[in-house]
C-alpha cells in the first residue's frame, strides 16, 4: 500500500498509510476502535476505493484490476455476515462457484476447509442461522480459505470463540505461515503476539508502528521493569532503590499477601541496574527475605498502549516533533 488516504466527508479515516507485506507472512493489524483498520482492509480487498494512493496485491493494482485482486483474496469481514437461511455446505458451494474454483476441485476444497475449521461432522448440513457464534466464525474462516487465496484478510476472526476454539484457530493460522499471506486484525493482543510475524499498529488513520514484536519493544519501551517480592521495611527499600542512577520509578503494592510479603515494581531506563545489582542493594537495605526478583517481559499490549499513546500525545501537542530516529515509521515497514 502506498500513501493511501480515505475521507468520509470531513473525517479522514485513513491518512497516508503505506506498508508492505511479504508473501507467506502473518501480519497483525492493530488499532483502537475507529483507528481505520477496517477501512484499510476494505480498500485492500477492493470493496472500497481510496481517495488517493495505491493498493497493490501480488503486483496487481486493486483499483485498476479489482477482479484479478478479488480472485487472490480471501476476506472475512468484521462481524462475519452470513446468510441465515442457507446450509453450511450449500453456502460454501455457492461461494466456491463465485470464487471461480474449478468444478473438479470444488468438492475437495469444500471438504478440506470444513475439516480445517472443524465443521465437517457437526455443522455440515446445519442452517447457518441456527449455528452458535463460534461455528459461524468458523464458517467465515472456511469461506476465506476456500479458494486457497494468496492473501487472507481476517477482521476480528476470534470474536465469540471459546478458549479451545481460539487455540485451534491460532494453530490453523500458524499452519498457513509460508503458504498464504495472512493479515489479521484483532483486539486480542496475546493472539496477535502468539501467531504473527509482524505487527502494524494504526491509530487515528495513520500507521504509528510497524515491525516484529522485538523491534517494537526496542522502539517504544525504552525501559525495564522488575518485580520484587520481599519482607522488609518497604519505605527504606524504596528510598534505597530510588537513589540508584537510571531508576525511574519504584512502586509498592498496597496489600501484602498471607506470608506478609510485599511486592515492589521497579522501573529502570535502558542500561540501568540489572537484577544482581538490585539484589545487592536489597541486602544493603536490610531486607529480611526475598522470595523473588524477576524482570517483567513487556507484552504487545504495552507496545500497543505506548504507540497509540504517543500518537495521541502528538495530536494533542502538534508543535512537538518526533525524534528523528522514530520519524519514518512507515518507511521502516518494508
Amino acid at each position: 500500500m502506498k500513501s493511501l488516504t480515505k475521507r468520509y466527508g470531513s473525517v479522514v479515516a485513513v491518512r497516508d498509510v503505506s506498508f508492505t507485506v511479504q508473501p507467506g507472512e502473518i501480519v497483525g493489524f492493530l488499532g483502537p476502535n475507529g483507528a481505520g483498520k477496517s477501512t484499510t482492509m476494505r480498500i485492500l480487498s477492493g470493496l472500497m476505493m481510496a481517495d488517493s494512493g495505491e493498493a497493490y496485491l501480488c503486483g496487481d493494482s486493486v483499483a485498476l484490476h479489482p477482479e484479478r485482486a478479488k480472485l487472490r483474496i480471501g476476506y472475512m469481514p468484521e462481524n462475519n455476515p452470513l446468510p441465515e437461511d442457507m446450509r453450511v455446505v450449500e453456502y460454501l458451494r455457492y461461494r466456491a462457484q463465485l470464487k471461480s474454483i474449478p468444478i473438479r476441485k470444488r468438492n475437495e476444497r469444500i471438504n478440506t476447509v470444513m475439516e480445517q475449521c472443524d465443521l465437517q461432522r457437526k455443522a455440515r448440513r446445519k442452517l447457518i442461522g441456527a449455528l452458535s457464534k463460534g461455528f459461524r466464525q468458523r464458517v467465515g474462516i472456511a469461506d476465506a480459505l476456500l479458494a486457497e487465496p494468496d492473501v487472507v484478510i481476517m477482521d476480528e476472526p476470534t470474536i465469540g470463540l471459546d478458549p479451545h476454539q481460539i487455540k485451534a484457530m491460532r494453530s490453523l493460522i500458524t499452519d498457513l505461515r509460508g503458504k498464504m499471506t495472512v493479515i489479521l486484525s484483532s483486539h486480542i493482543l496475546p493472539e496477535i503476539e502468539a501467531c504473527c510475524d509482524r505487527v502494524i499498529i494504526i491509530n487515528q488513520g495513520e500507521v504509528v508502528a510497524a515491525g516484529d514484536t522485538a523491534s517494537l519493544h526496542r522502539e517504544f519501551l525504552q525501559s525495564k521493569r522488575f518485580k520484587i517480592e520481599l519482607i522488609a521495611d518497604v519505605e527504606k527499600v524504596r528510598k534505597a532503590l530510588q537513589a540508584l542512577p537510571k531508576v525511574t520509578d519504584v512502586r509498592v503494592d498496597a496489600a501484602s499477601d498471607a506470608g506478609a510479603f510485599r511486592t515492589l515494581h521497579v522501573d529502570t531506563e535502558m542500561g540501568g541496574p540489572e537484577g544482581e545489582e538490585l539484589l545487592g542493594i536489597l541486602s544493603q537495605a536490610g531486607v529480611e527475605k526475598v522470595r523473588s526478583l524477576s524482570p517483567i517481559e513487556p507484552t504487545l499490549e504495552d507496545v500497543f498502549m505506548a504507540a497509540t499513546r504517543r500518537s495521541w500525545d502528538e495530536v494533542a501537542d502538534p508543535l512537538s516533533t518526533r525524534d528523528t530516529d522514530q520519524e519514518p515509521v512507515v518507511s521502516s515497514v518494508d
Partner: protein
Amino acid sequence: MRYTWLIFKHEMRMLLLTPSSYVASVLFLAIMALIYWTVIRGLTVVASETLPTTSYFRAFWLPSLFVVPLLTMRSVAEERRLGTLSTLLTTPATPLSLVLGKFLAVYVFYCGLWGLTLLFPFIFAKVLPYATFDGRLVAWAPMVGGISFVALSGLLFIAVGIFSSSLTRSQLVSGMLTFTLLFLIIAFANLMQMMPLSWEEGPFLGLLQEPLLYFKATQHLEDFSVGLIDTRPIFYYSSMCALLLSLAVINVESRS
C-alpha cells in the same frame, strides 16, 4: 455474465425455498382465480362484447401492487441488513451482476406466476365443458397480448422493487416504497386524465394529454390485447427498467 448467471441461479433457488415466496404465490394465484371467476360469473349475468381473458388481464394492477413488493423487498435490503452484500462483493461478482442476477430471478418468478394463471381458462374448460362456447374462453390472441403486456410491464415493476430494495436495509420500508411507486406508475396517468385537461383550461394542461397517454399502463394493456404492438410502450418500460436498475447498481456500489 457468468456471475450474473450464478447469482440468478442462487436467487431462483432461494426464491423457491423461501416460505414468503409461497405465501406470495398462493395469495397471488388465489386472488387471480377469484378475479377470473368473477369475470366468468359476470358474463353469465350480463352479456359483454369483451372476451373474458381481456377483462381478466385488465385487473393486472391489483396483484402487481402486492406481489411485486413481496417478491422484491427482500432481495437487496436483506443482504444489506445482514451485511452479506460486502461479502458478496469481495468475490469477482460486480454490483451490476448482482443487481441483474437478482432482477432476473424475481422477473422469471413473476412471469412464471402469471404464466400459471394462463391455465385458468383450460382448467375451466376441463371442469365445465358445457360452459365453453365457440372457443372464446380459450382465445389465444388476447392471452398472448395480455401476457406480453404483463411481461413487458413486469420489467419496470420488478426494477422498481429492486431499486427500492437497494435504498434501505428494512424490508418493510422497501415493500412500502415499492407499493407507493407502483401505485403512482399505474394510477398516476389515469388519475391525471380524470382532471379536465383540455385546451379550454389552458394550453399547458392541454399539452399534458399526449404525454399522459404515453405513460398510461391501462392503455398499453388495451393496445396489446387487441394485438397492437406499439414500440413506444416497449421503449418506455425497458428504458425505465434500465434507468432504475442503473440507480440500484449505484446504490449497491455506494453502500456496500
